[in-house]
């Protein structure tokens, strides 16, 4: 018997989980296939969620009803708000997470969801069949065999969301040794790339790397600087009140000249510098060998020793990602204060993997060549749990809407970082693992963590992703913010000379909400909510002018994003466009004039020609 699922999700990482949950929430029957059901939502790299730009994405996922914020709050063992002093737009929440708790929490959501069927195995091929797709499924043992695996099962699905992470033809490097694998201890997905090529996708190769993991019982924490979380801990989810787990510190140490000497000695066996690794790695996350070679003048680099959880003694020395040989890793680690006797539990490695050039996707994350096939996460050339989860949510949502015959939901650049990210990917593509940075957003002052709910929860409600509990919580906060704003305008407070409207006093530099309103404002009884309201009001009042200034500056771009381009426009018929520009436009098929303008190599003149042409067709269609 062949079951046809509405949606098959391939991979249960951060993208796959959000995709499956969103689609099931919309009433679709979902099959989630992954290599190992014990490794759902695994943090393959550092044990942290959030950060600058990334925390923004987590809050957006949460505001849209996604799971990542709640999972991080549940599993968090240290919470901090980065960039507190640098302004409201660039504040980023980050937590250290208990990796196992995080995975278990997410697995629990999947298992409890009656709309989601879980299957262990390797998807070895995806092909078009009828109105949907056929997936060939091999059990794990078969996938490991040297020859092509005999398919042990075939599944049918109307739509597919592919979230394969670093597993597509993954090749792991430590020193000059390399072996196939998607992650330490896990096999690569070796057959699917051929299937994707057969569908017509063009694939590229990227590289990322990770650190050796250390045994905490062999670390001398007293030799390092302790860093605790903040109190009160900043939460991700607009629904969370406080952490669920005991909190833990991180520890700071740094490399020494001896470390760098050890690294240099090992360079002749570095796969990175010997030209063995061909995939491009992230410039923002360089390996220690990269740092030593590129910045020879520095005699130290900071290392953050991060706990991986409460129930494990494994630690993550963030800052020394490496693919040097094992003996060099040991020597190097032992030159770091506090790690002189540290035992390496797992060695660091680099992994090369296939990705699909994301310009082959629409902004809905659906493949242009295969309607119904969606891609999300690292397969699209991104890096990071948060980036993956954000795409997963959108891909799952849009796959469900595709099944329901509804138009896709596309987040705009002035609406969400998720929108910025996806627009960047499908418009410009990427040549290195793409990470979110706040400077990528031209509407940075408006796309803040504190207002992610204001920006997205009403939309989430409209498209059925936001449940009643979240909707009620959103409205309660919004009403409180409105009430406080109204009171600030009417209430007069002393300013040392006379009395002024509280609103005016709060606008003055250095004046904080607490100074103006003090305890006079009524408390909700939930101090987390009270703080959120205070924070929101303070930012609204103090930064009103700047936010407006940014809106005006970015206005032209936003206007161009409002000009839709017909999907089937034949660019060859637009006069004055060069062949190269026609090719670019025909490949990207931008949905708006703004997106067209952002295609690399598009010139203002070419954009004007398209704009004039669009205006002409509009006027012609009006006349006829």
């Amino acid at each position: 018997m062949e079951d046809t699922f509405d949606i098959a999700v391939v991979g249960a990482g951060h993208a796959g989980c959000e995709a499956a949950l969103a689609a099931a929430h919309l009433g679709c029957s979902v099959l989630l296939v992954t290599l190992d059901l014990g490794k759902v939502a695994t943090m393959s790299c550092n044990p942290a969620v959030g950060g600058i730009g990334k925390g923004h994405i987590v809050k957006e996922i949460d505001a849209l009803g996604g799971a990542m914020g709640l999972a991080a709050d549940h599993a968090g063992i240290q919470f901090r708000l980065l960039n507190r002093s640098k302004g409201p737009a660039v504040r980023g929440t980050r937590c250290q997470a208990d990796m196992k708790e995080y995975s278990d929490y997410m697995a629990g959501l999947l298992v409890k969801n009656p709309g989601i069927a879980l299957a262990a195995g390797e998807v070895t091929n995806i092909s078009l069949r009828g109105v949907g797709f056929e997936l060939e499924l091999a059990p794990m043992a078969g996938a490991r065999a040297a020859g092509a695996p005999a398919p042990s099962g075939r599944l049918l699905a109307r739509t597919v969301v592919v979230t394969t992470g670093t597993f597509l033809d993954g090749l792991m490097h430590t020193g000059l040794q390399n072996r196939p694998g998607g992650r330490l201890g896990d096999p690569a997905s070796r057959w699917l790339p051929a299937g994707l090529r057969a569908l017509g996708f063009e694939l590229g190769r990227l590289k990322t790397g990770t650190c050796p993991r250390l045994d905490g019982s062999t670390i001398d924490f007293d030799a390092m600087r302790r860093q605790d979380g903040e109190d009160p801990p900043p939460m991700f989810s607009f629904l969370s009140v406080e952490p669920q787990l005991p909190q833990r510190p991180c520890h700071l140490t740094s490399t020494t000249p001896a470390t760098h000497t050890a690294v240099r000695k090992g360079l002749d066996r570095s796969p990175l510098f010997c030209g063995i690794i061909k995939g491009r790695g992230p410039r923002y996350c360089p390996s220690i060998e990269d740092k030593v070679v590129r910045f020879p003048g520095r005699d130290r680099h900071v290392v953050f020793v991060e706990p991986e959880g409460l129930g494990t003694d494994e630690y993550y020395p963030n800052g020394i990602s490496t693919s040097l040989p094992e003996d060099v890793q040991i020597e190097m680690v032992h030159t770091i204060p506090g790690l002189e006797n540290a035992k390496i539990l797992r060695f660091g490695y680099a992994v090369e993997y296939d990705f699909v050039f994301p310009t082959q996707l629409f902004a809905s994350l659906m493949a242009k060549i295969a309607p119904g096939l969606f891609l999300a996460g690292q397969i699209n050339g991104t890096s990071g749990y948060e980036e993956a989860a954000g795409q997963g949510l959108m891909a799952g949502l849009n796959a469900a809407r595709f099944v329901r015959g509804e138009p896709p939901v596309i987040l705009r650049r002035d609406q969400a970082y998720i929108g910025v990210m996806i627009d960047d990917l499908v418009t410009a593509g990427t040549t290195e693992p793409y990470r979110m940075f706040t400077s990528r957003a031209e509407h940075r002052m408006s796309l803040r963590e504190d207002n992610a709910d204001v920006r997205l929860t009403p939309l989430g409600r409209q498209i059925d992703l936001v449940d009643d509990a979240r909707w009620d919580a959103f409205n309660e906060k919004a009403e409180r913010v409105r009430a406080v704003q109204a009171r600030l305008r009417t209430q007069r407070v002393p300013d040392g000379i006379g009395t002024v409207p509280a609103y005016d006093l709060l606008r003055r530099p250095g004046v904080r909400y607490r100074d103006v309103c003090g305890p006079a404002m009524e408390s909700s009884g939930n101090s987390t909510l009270d703080r959120a309201v205070e924070n929101a009001v303070e930012i609204l009042v103090k930064f009103e002018g700047y936010i407006e200034r940014e809106r005006q500056r970015a206005g032209k771009i936003a206007d161009m994003d409002g000009v839709a381009i017909p999907e089937l426009l034949d660019y060859k018929s637009v006069p004055g466009l060069s062949r190269e520009v026609v090719e670019k436009l025909s490949a990207i098929r931008p949905a708006t004039l703004g997106q067209a303008a952002r295609i690399p190599g598009m010139t203002p003149a070419a954009v004007s020609m398209v704009a004039i042409f669009l205006a002409r067709i509009r006027s012609v269609s009006r006349e006829t």
């Binding site: 730009g53 060069s578 520009v581």
Partner: protein
């Protein structure tokens, strides 16, 4: 010469030419003697020299064919006709350049400069445009852009990587350096005053009380009989314009209605127009009839535009009135303090009737118009209104940044202002600010855990 550009250009050229070898085998850049033939009749039309260029090594970045026919419009028109019959279409004005730009052969600023050269109708226009074309403007912009990328990357690196050792730029130091860039941007933008004159013509307005001899002076200066000259005050109701070439500078000379309090409604309209012209004037020639007694209205009028004004004491062929207003005696050395001109150039005796003193007036006006280094032809001058607007936008954003820094604004706001300035500059040459700043961060700072 007939030029073809585009994917099918060689194929189309081949269809009307008899070449020594198939066009596909000709060497790019070599000159071949060929015959132009009418493909319909097979008859020879003209002998020509033929050169091909291959994409991307051509002006437009596309395949190109150049056919040099023998002079004569008839032959050229015939060849064009044959080519269009074979599938070519006539280029729109500036289209080759537009294509060069669209194919990445040229940045936007340079492409616009070419468009201006095509349209240039005076020597100074040509000079300015060719300076932009030479890339001088682009390299100056590049320099300012790079300076801002350098400053912004230092701010953004601290924002994006708060836990890395990125050195902090002190706010006052940052403000000082940003202000330095602002001054450069501002200086570049300020050249648009001259640049606009060069591109659109300098606006020189002749003004004065009725019957002072404005129209006569207009004629004397424009060397024609354009304005109607009569003895009746108020003849010139509408400003009359002449476009002149003064030492390479395009000058738009306007004659205006006499400035006086009048009850005549039609004359009032002329006055309003005169006022509008005076507001936009780059220079004013204020005409006073020195044969008449002084009138306080002259002093009143003059005080409004003394800064960019030359006073013409007209009718030097008649005896001067005694007791005239003392400004009317050039020897007195008195001049309103606001004038940019030295005293001898400010008030000049002339006779529009005999032409006496008219060249001196013209010289003084030129002194007002091109006081800057552009006159010497060695300065970079902005002549494009789009560039000017973007430079002003950058200047404003930089001023706001400096203000924000002084007000201890948070880094996100400061970065936002600098980004706005960079985007404005980047739009002139077409750059991706976000990618450039990130690249600079990665190359300059050791970041990333």
């Amino acid at each position: 010469m007939v030029r073809l550009s585009g994917r099918r250009s060689l194929e189309i050229a081949a269809s009307v030419l008899k070449t020594p070898a198939p066009v596909g085998q000709l060497r790019p850049g070599r000159e071949y003697v060929v015959w132009v033939v009418d493909p319909a009749t097979g008859r020879d039309v003209d002998q020509a020299v033929f050169t091909i260029r291959r994409a991307p090594r051509s002006y437009t970045g596309e395949d190109m064919a150049e056919i040099h026919v023998h002079g004569g419009r008839a032959v050229a028109a015939r060849v064009l006709g044959l080519l269009t019959d074979s599938g070519a279409r006539p280029a729109q004005a500036g289209e080759f350049t537009m294509r060069a730009f669209a194919n990445g052969r040229m940045d936007l600023a340079r492409a616009e400069a070419v468009a201006q050269i095509v349209a240039a109708d005076s020597r100074s226009q040509l000079e300015c445009a060719s300076r932009v074309l030479s890339g001088e403007f682009s390299s100056k912009l590049e320099q300012l852009y790079a300076a801002l990328v350098d400053l912004l990357s230092a701010i953004e690196a601290r924002i994006e990587f708060p836990e890395d050792d990125v050195p902090e730029t002190r706010p006052d130091d940052l403000a000082r350096r940003l202000d330095g860039v602002r001054l450069d941007v501002s200086a570049l933008a300020a050249t648009f005053r001259e640049g606009r004159m060069i591109a659109q013509g300098a606006r020189v307005v002749i003004a004065g009380r009725p019957n002072a001899g404005k129209s006569s002076l207009f004629n004397a200066l424009s060397g024609g009989d354009r304005a109607i000259v009569t003895e009746i005050p108020g003849t010139t109701r509408d400003p009359i314009e002449a476009v002149l070439d003064w030492d390479g500078l395009p000058v738009r000379l306007f004659d205006t209605a006499g400035l006086r309090r009048s009850g005549d409604r039609i004359e009032m309209l002329g006055l309003e127009r005169a006022e509008r012209h005076l507001e936009d004037a780059d220079a004013v020639i204020y005409v006073i009839d020195r044969s008449l007694p002084a009138d306080p209205e002259d002093a009143e009028n003059l005080s409004r535009f003394a800064e960019h004004c030359v006073v013409a004491l007209n009718k030097s062929d008649l005896p001067p009135a005694t007791g005239n207003w003392r400004l009317a005696t050039a020897d007195s050395g008195v001049q309103p303090p606001a004038s940019r001109l030295p005293p001898p150039a400010f008030t000049l005796r002339c006779s529009a009737l005999t032409g006496d003193g008219v060249p001196e007036i013209r010289r003084s006006v030129m002194g007002l118009l091109v006081a800057g280094p552009a006159a010497a032809g060695d300065a970079l001058v902005i002549t494009n209104a789009r560039h000017y607007a973007l430079l002003r936008e950058a200047e404003t954003a930089l001023r706001q940044t400096v203000d924000a820094l002084h007000a201890s604004a948070t880094e996100d706001l400061v970065a936002g202002d600098v980004t706005a300035a960079l985007r404005a500059l980047g739009q002139i040459t077409g750059k991706d600010v976000s990618a450039d700043v990130l690249s600079e961060i990665f190359s300059k700072f050791c970041i990333g855990k």
